[in-house]
Symmetry: C2
Amino acid sequence: MTHPVTPRDPLPSWNSLKAKESLIHFVELVTGKRPGGFVPPEERIAVFDNDGTLCSEKPVLMQFAFTADRIRKLAHIHPEWKTISPFKEFLSGDMHGALSGGMGAISGILAATYAGMTTEEFEHEVSAWVTTACHPVTGRLYTEMVYQPMLELLSYLRENQFRIYIVSATGIDFMRPWTERVYGIVPEQVIGSSIRLKYEVHDTIPVLVRLPELEIFDEGGEKPVAIHHFIGRRPVLAFGNSDGDIQMLRWVVSGSGPRFAGFIHHPDAEHGQADRACNGNMLSGKSDRALAQARTEGWTIVDVREDWKTIFPFATS
Amino acid sequence: MTHPVTPRDPLPSWNSLKAKESLIHFVELVTGKRPGGFVPPEERIAVFDNDGTLCSEKPVLMQFAFTADRIRKLAHIHPEWKTISPFKEFLSGDMHGALSGGMGAISGILAATYAGMTTEEFEHEVSAWVTTACHPVTGRLYTEMVYQPMLELLSYLRENQFRIYIVSATGIDFMRPWTERVYGIVPEQVIGSSIRLKYEVHDTIPVLVRLPELEIFDEGGEKPVAIHHFIGRRPVLAFGNSDGDIQMLRWVVSGSGPRFAGFIHHPDAEHGQADRACNGNMLSGKSDRALAQARTEGWTIVDVREDWKTIFPFATS
């Protein structure tokens, strides 16, 4: 015996505008509730950038805050860091200066701060950090600075048998210890930048050791490459928010059958109570080219001021 | 209302010896049918080497046969290959000589024969090849040269909520087009060696192009590294058959909780009707060190002559 079901709004934090309508239309098409676009469940793969797409990346990317804390912790055994860039900038809190050297500088930092650690030791470091480290503006845990409307979208897609992957320039081993708890995304569905690892045997125990060498910087054209390596199928839905997501979005929508490209647009002015003070793109990816491309290609633009009723879970009560 | 269920043998092609008993005991432990070793379903990850573990690697690895066919196909536009190693050896059928140069030579071959192809073009090549290419000894399709007892083991594990991954030195993009049909293993659960790819836009269409460069040679210590990158959790069960699997097996069993390491041992003499003529390890991995280690560490050794009633599906009728 079945009972009539009252339709439930799957995206309650989204205003009933074009973006929300497009998302629901796409899901109904793919699942066969609307004709002409059925996609078998095994091919319902969705990929999401992380920083700025699923969580706040302002005023600083979460992994940079983690690395800065690590540098402060190790400073007493590295007195030379007070005079060497980018360590001296990290130590004085000048994050903009610390990162001005680009990826070369970041790789150097990663090498200096975590090289020689085993993957298990690094996982423990990350797990301990995320349970205590707070966002500098809101005072909330970083892992609370996630976008409520996107959590609803992840649930909605999951209910419709999508498999959800993160595809981020942030380190794969930095994300995996907390993405399941925060987003419901299991380790094997997290793709990110990686450090070269080496198998070694320490006192008869096999371990994987972090080397001072970046293996993959999962940004730009490397995102579709990493998706191909890790998943081996082209996703049908992708979301991003910066220029580093352009290639992933283009590659996803150029497949055959129904496709969805979503672009999270954070206008510079303001976008919500708690996020208002977190603005300024200085330490997050640029997005000018991606926004222009989204307009040209007809990707679904999610304007967080207009499309979202609320930004963070803690502001929804 | 429930009916009493007649116990069904989950591994009918296995003789009732120690290996079969150990496997069933392990599965009952992990699933909680026996006390003291329950593992939640999300952590029931099993990894299998491919060539020699799930399918025949004699007299030649499947991907080498594929590459040899490609070289023959392109020879008319590369007359110089008749005098250059390893192409001349491939063209004269001297597979032993062709591969004597080791990985350097193999990389060169891959570069010459598939560089510049898009991932989709390569997938079509592989898909077409596997539907027609036949094993030189049995005349069967290569994809029929899979081990019946291992197909039963994969099913048994799947019924008990294991997620099964292949972890092979064979190319990831060479395996993915057929592993789902042959083993029931979906593309995202196939890990292998990879060629460097580059994102490009060809006439407004984004594509991923194969470069003449090996990215990962997924063998030895690279197997646990690749498992960590792709899965992010340590498996609880692993199967291999050669020296290149030692590190994977050691790394898997050194985790906490119940663990299973299986080693497929192919004695040199003979092991079954169809496989009898396919012997000789010349083009497959060496296994002497691994066998010794399996004995020292107490891994479960599967002697294919003693433990298996049949080798291939086509011989089971």
